[in-house]
């Protein structure tokens, strides 16, 4: 492994994050605070406890997931799309690095950024609601796995995208609806049976359920199933990325 190259890509990408630190951090913190004000205080005060947890606290895992998934995808997709757009990808393609090293650098940086934002949102939540974490290690593990797997998805989107519109297309039209309908703000047990069955086809349900279990020891789907879902999703992304680099799809003519 070319560890120096991985470190170089990682540090270069992180430098971009720190260069725009204000907008990188203020935006998610502000939007999360607004969610807490609107859903937690204004609407949440009229909602009884959900599965034994106050509504304000109940939405914390979902809010973190919402931001982490969005950030992981946008950071990773932009990270690899930008070199394609400005042409600096030539340097990556001509360097003595393989696809695993390139992915490790870009996805590692995107996942780190998403993780930092997830932690900051968690800290912000403590200012609004009382949150307990039943399984801290599992919570961190779920957070890291989600950051990684969705950064991998973002990387694929960045390779696939031919312009900035396409770069936004998948997150806007597919990922955001899946996250919102994946139980970010409610338990799927609150839905009618038909919609509960339909929701089980949404992969994000398993992530949010598992993450919420780490906080409140209560879940919509068994925790084992959540782990299998996130592991399977990560493996699928890795297989797709492996194929991309083997065939040179959209990057090497």
């Amino acid at each position: 492994m070319n560890w120096t190259a991985i470190k170089s890509i990682y540090m270069f990408e992180m430098a971009r994050f720190f260069r725009t630190i204000a907008q990188s951090l203020i935006s998610p913190v502000l939007s999360t605070s607004l969610y807490f004000v609107v859903f937690g205080a204004a609407i949440g005060s009229r909602i009884d406890q959900v599965e034994g947890v106050s509504y304000g606290a109940f939405i914390v895992p979902g809010l973190i997931m919402l931001s982490v998934i969005t950030q992981a995808i946008s950071n990773a997709s932009f990270g690899i799309y930008f070199p394609k757009f400005i042409g600096t990808i030539y340097e990556l393609l001509s360097a003595p690095v393989n696809f695993l090293e390139i992915v490790a650098g870009y996805v590692g940086a995107a996942a780190t950024k998403a993780f930092i934002i997830g932690v900051i949102i968690l800290v912000t939540a403590f200012f609004f609601v009382e949150v307990q974490i039943a399984h801290p290690v599992a919570m961190l593990a779920f957070l890291v796995l989600t950051c990684l797997s969705f950064s991998l998805l973002g990387f694929i989107i960045g390779i696939w995208a031919g312009n900035f519109e396409q770069l936004q297309l998948v997150p806007l039209l597919i990922v955001t609806p899946l996250v919102f309908l994946g139980g970010s703000f409610y338990s799927i047990s609150m839905l009618p049976p038909v919609w509960q069955a339909i929701s089980l086809f949404n992969p994000v349900v398993y992530l949010i359920s598992g993450f919420r279990w780490a906080f409140f020891d209560t879940a919509d789907v068994p925790i084992g199933l959540s782990l299998v879902a996130i592991a399977g999703f990560t493996a699928l992304c890795l297989v797709v990325i492996g194929w991309i680099f083997r065939t040179g799809w959209r990057i090497r003519s």
Binding site: M11, F12, T88, P96
Partner: protein, 311 residues
């Protein structure tokens, strides 16, 4: 001399069926400067891109210092530096960071002193903390070279390094190339500026329609294929060539003061002695005689046109 780059039967056919390289064979020796000349679309950039790993070859083999660019890609690519034709740089990054990144990407440990050397050599040290977007076009080209040199490559590919730059910067680039050669770097540059190849190359290759038409020492190429032009200036202008000189391939200048005679330097007899004698016999007083060697450009145009390779 030791061979640093060996290209054998390299072919590239793009997905649409366009054959950009049609079996290129090329052997480059360590420390030389090769200029690859060719019209637009000849395959110069495809050749460089394939050797550097940006484009995948359809067939053939490339070895860099004995390392195959596919099976030993790490060792092969570590020896290569590439300066692309277009200015591809991260606009918001600083000069120093972007050069440092290139060194790391090629697996070399951080070496601030080496980076300083390179930046100083390219007159970029004063701009090391400037963002790329703040630099002039010429400075950006220097940054591209600095990035390509950051990992101390043994072979440097320059893809049309002076395309669209002013004369002064072009001369600067030639100086930089000469400096790199003195440092032992092998340089392969593509260009369609004949004067560039003429000024700095040791050997010249001509590519047209994906084929390497020739690769030869610049001086011997000019000697072998060059033609000379003899201009015989006469004291008193004439309206037409005398009949006694009709046996020569002569042209009368528009002002009637010079007889233009073209001859092949490779011919056993150039015919100059007989011509001058016959000019004197025709009663024309000689005022002056001068010769002009045809340039590489003339040779290039002749070659490409004779192969039907113009585009």
């Amino acid at each position: 001399m030791t061979s640093i780059l060996t290209i054998t039967n390299l072919q590239k056919t793009y997905a649409g069926g366009f054959q950009a390289l049609k079996g290129i064979n090329l052997d480059i020796e360590q420390g030389e400067i090769i200029a690859l000349l060719g019209p637009n679309g000849a395959g110069k950039t495809t050749l460089i891109s394939t050797v550097c790993g940006i484009t995948t070859a359809s067939a053939g083999q490339v070895r860099v210092a004995g390392f195959d660019i596919v099976t030993d890609f790490r060792a092969a690519r570590a020896l290569i530096g590439l300066v692309p034709q277009e200015i591809h740089l991260e606009p918001f990054e600083t000069v120093q960071n972007t050069v440092r990144f290139s060194r790391g990407l090629f697996g070399k440990k951080s070496d601030p002193a080496k980076i300083q050397d390179i930046l100083q050599q390219l007159s970029l040290w004063d701009k090391r903390n400037s963002q790329i977007r703040e630099l002039s076009g010429g400075m950006k080209r220097r940054v591209l070279i600095a990035k390509a040199l950051a990992h101390e490559p043994r072979v440097l590919f320059l893809d049309e390094p002076t395309a669209g730059v002013d004369v002064e910067l072009r001369k600067d680039m030639w100086d930089i190339v000469a400096q790199l050669k003195r440092g032992g770097v092998t340089i392969v540059l593509t260009t369609h500026y004949i004067e560039e190849a003429e000024a700095i190359a040791d050997r010249v290759g001509v590519i047209a329609k994906g084929e390497l038409l020739l690769i030869e020492n610049k001086a011997s190429l000019m000697k072998r294929m060059g033609k000379k032009e003899l201009s015989v200036q006469i004291a008193d202008p004439i309206a037409a060539l005398p009949d006694s000189l009709s046996g020569y391939d002569l042209e009368l200048s528009s002002d009637g003061r010079a007889l233009i005679y073209r001859y092949d330097t490779r011919a056993k007899r150039t015919g100059i002695t007989a011509l001058l004698a016959d000019v004197a016999a025709a009663g024309l007083a000689l005022a002056d005689v001068e010769t002009r060697q045809s340039s590489l450009e003339d040779i290039f145009v002749d070659l490409v046109q004779s192969e039907g390779g113009t585009s």
